[in-house]
Symmetry: C2
Subunit: 658 residues, 2 copies
Amino acid sequence: MASLEEQKKAVEFNRESLESTLKRRFFYAPAFELYGGVSGLFDYGPAGCAFQANVVDQWRKHFILEEDMLEVDCTMLTPYEVLKTSGHVDKFSDWMSKDPKTGEIFRADHLVEEVLESRLKGDKQARGLGSEIDGVEEDADKKKRKKKVKQITAVKLDDELVKEYETVLAKIDGYSGEELGELIEKYQIKNPGNGNDLEPPRAFNLMFETAIGPSGQYKGYLRPETAQGQFLNFNKLLDFNNNKIPFASASIGKSFRNEISPRAGLLRVREFLMAEIEHFVDPEDKSHSKFDEVKDIKLKFLPKNVQEAGSTKLQELSVGDAVSSGMVDNQTLGYFIARIYLFLMKIGVDPNRLRFRQHMSNEMAHYACDCWDAELQTSYGWIECVGCADRSAYDLTVHSKKTGEKLVVRQKLDTPKEVVQWELSLTKKLFGPKFRKDAPLVEKYLTNLSQEELESKAKEMGDNGKIVFQIDGMQGDIELDEKFIKIENVKRIHHVREFTPSVIEPSFGIGRIIYAVFEHSFWARPEDSARTVMSFKPTVAPSKVLLVPLSNNKEFEPIIAKISKTLKKEQIPFKVDDSGVSIGKRYARNDELGTPFGITIDFDSVKDDSVTLRERDSTKQVRGSIEQILRAIKEITYEGSTWEKSTSELPEFVSQSE
Amino acid sequence: MASLEEQKKAVEFNRESLESTLKRRFFYAPAFELYGGVSGLFDYGPAGCAFQANVVDQWRKHFILEEDMLEVDCTMLTPYEVLKTSGHVDKFSDWMSKDPKTGEIFRADHLVEEVLESRLKGDKQARGLGSEIDGVEEDADKKKRKKKVKQITAVKLDDELVKEYETVLAKIDGYSGEELGELIEKYQIKNPGNGNDLEPPRAFNLMFETAIGPSGQYKGYLRPETAQGQFLNFNKLLDFNNNKIPFASASIGKSFRNEISPRAGLLRVREFLMAEIEHFVDPEDKSHSKFDEVKDIKLKFLPKNVQEAGSTKLQELSVGDAVSSGMVDNQTLGYFIARIYLFLMKIGVDPNRLRFRQHMSNEMAHYACDCWDAELQTSYGWIECVGCADRSAYDLTVHSKKTGEKLVVRQKLDTPKEVVQWELSLTKKLFGPKFRKDAPLVEKYLTNLSQEELESKAKEMGDNGKIVFQIDGMQGDIELDEKFIKIENVKRIHHVREFTPSVIEPSFGIGRIIYAVFEHSFWARPEDSARTVMSFKPTVAPSKVLLVPLSNNKEFEPIIAKISKTLKKEQIPFKVDDSGVSIGKRYARNDELGTPFGITIDFDSVKDDSVTLRERDSTKQVRGSIEQILRAIKEITYEGSTWEKSTSELPEFVSQSE
């Protein structure tokens, strides 16, 4: 007989079959289906919701409890000013092109990609080459997107043009709106459905906008990430942590993204659960005290230099080597990459379908110094499920600059340090008469100048005898001479070091991870491909045990009540299925829900309190007393034991029921 | 020495002192404080967030696991049409009056209330009666609101007018916008700050509005409750439950309410966590199979007849008597009231500050048949923290009617039943030519008519030879004669009963409950009122144990590491405080965080592995081996034991450190 691992792979994966199981067992469903649905919005049913709750619970234990992180719960409603400062108002957008005749809206980069790809395919057909020769793996979403461009017409292109198209496609994630507009014009890209001309791409901000309060004047957004709330509470968190660094905050909650055209089920949605960590660390010392515990873990990496050379070949090496070779920027980043890996293993990700891909220089945010995504392979391609970025001091710096509040760490120096620095002194009594109510604004602007800015202003003063500048919210130029302000280069002895910490940010898209685990856990029994199974790990399975009386005979009720009571007391989630259908059907239904254990109650059970325990994947059964069986379930589910170990002393039970 | 209960009451409760503790220990704080804050939005810090997570965990165990409920997680973004159907677009609003000169906006009912109350107070002063004679308890929020009306001027009013004012105040929650406008005019109510005239009250919808998708045309809201998502998934949930009824769904998540003027801290906010249950039950049989388990529980009730007679005297009786006397409408409602009580006890609500208040006829939603609020007493008055309403079949009925999808339960009848009913038959082939694309709309309209509507249409047809009606989305009258439609009264044998279930809805405002528990848990040590304590139950305390080495001597590190490892393995949340300050200071800090246990590590510990365990409230200490101490902590925190029981065999330890 084939091994279990072989059996699991015998029937080829089929996404329609998975989706049908997920729908039939109400893991999730389009939200508002009764009203026709809204794309990009999904509801989790009982099975999906319990699975999600268990994944979140594991996450909380693995990261927050284990690493002693400070969890916060910040609001989703966020005022305009905060997201203006963070850069989201200006930059968190996609480019959209509209067909002015039909009102249809296309995401510009997706459209260019689709059309050029279909032309390349047509070219290959015209050259007599099948599309199958294209051995390169497809990215997420592409398969579905392609459906839009229905007709592939076999038209041969110039060799030059083929090369041009390929270059464009390789760089598709990096184009500005203007550049996308030029491509659309240059390559005569039209609405694929009707051939209409499209308007030039316009930036579409992906945040949901709303008004806070009754006046309608106070603009706000739904947060696009949980990170900003954590940054804004930095001072309070540092204080809570007795002013010690490094420390991490963490947050689990919904974020929002008004996608232009959501697709690919749970992979690209408008409302989603995130779990984000902001680990604050000394920029001059990014070592990690627990790095040794993870340094020998081997992982599959896809570094940027490999990608930039046009390859996707994975490099397998230990986290220790990845850091010491400089491939991963620092220990803390490496530590989190390893911890992310351990977490994903805990909840049932297939290690062979996980890789850590480094961002290439052109895709990384300008402030980040290194960024790695944990990507999970699914039928939609490799999906970014966890990001792990070193955001440097960017966020704390911009918020501090905007609000005038310091967001820094102060550390007493063991040996005082001599520092040469720029300092300014203001003749404050002159500011009131000159600037009236704006005086505090001007003072705040000046006292917030960085060392570099002070140096340049000092030079300006030296050259021109005055400095000239503008301030947000004040009209015209402001001029000040030496009567108002002096900027000097002075020597100081520092007893305290003051610095803005760097932030390492592991950021988890829970819905994407859940969908990938669904794919990684799904298989069909070789003897009947309609009998599908979700092989969830017991820790995250929505329910742990199914109680199955042989029939709905009243005789079984006391023993069901007895077992139920114990399971409730032990807080082990379970279900009773005393419906009239056959035991085999009840187990099949339950295999689809991923319940790892079944307890069968028969007439012998009534006599001697013995019951049968069934393991979902192997369908193996053993017999034992209620106490023995429940102990085995508890050990395997919560205490890290295995089926083999915990049932080794129980006799096998042969049944006809499967 | 005074008993612990007496000590806890020795220092009078002081809200400022509580607020200062909550702020200092970062339980929660105004969101976006760095940017000046946004009223009605709060962030939970590490202590508050852990407390909230523990309360939610207890809720999930107490309700979802214990009662085998179907948890769902639905989206917050909700399309216009759903909330139009549910009634929220038209009715979920407060009345606001604007001062056109300053732009200030007042909630009209609050303003009328405030102004009349201050005039009555002025009248009492003029009559030489202090305001103290007013022995009636104040409602939530009133105290704060009063600050707005700053000056109480001693003006005597006519006796008649005093009576009028009192009548208005008693009915203040029931006025329409027009009526509020009349009161404002009649009693010459102005902007209290400047005496300006106010515009007539306008309805202000309390939902946050946004646009879904790139066109900006698709209107949506942030949900005002989690209930609608549960109703819309009714058919899927019923199917998941093998078509059996009764069953309950449940949901934990954020909801939103764009308050006109938020106040009273966590009690009236714009974004809040709810936990809601929708229990679907046969409208003809609202008995509950587990009612016997709770029937003897005695509770304090405030029924509507008592309130309508102008009293707030509580009636203490058992849930069984409350239901059998008809005071509580049915067993299922009574069962949930008792379960709500048990939950609130579990998380630390003071039973003497809990009452169940029945809605009076004029405050109940028109579709509800009974509704009881669990109210918790705080320094802001009695606060509605849990609602428990029988919503009847209202929601399922309106959504079904709007979408044309049946939301019903079908039950096989044991004995078939003869039923006389109205039935219609349509000559469908005539509908296409007459109505073209609207034909399906007309057919759907007709097939969805209720028995009552069919009876009336049959009569119309008999009288006029035709029926006339209008349909949303079609212009003008639609006329049909007997060629198109026949409506007949026929006898049928029913083998299946089809019905829309009633819904019993227990709905929890988690933030309000948390705030009330904060007040109920807070006290100051009589010997030093600056030493405040949060006496949280161990199950919900943010952290369970504080590890305190005598000093930051390196010698203690191995034993701290050893204990930490065990605590992590057992998943018991703990903190280490090895900061330099005195043990007494460290314990005082920790008492404010509500950590129930402290473990002190001293030089004897290094020698013999013994440690001291300190109980937060009594500050009693016992000595034992690490193993003994950890076992005691585990028993008390998770296994329902008590300090007395679990430490009875450990010797007392006398220390100077407090």
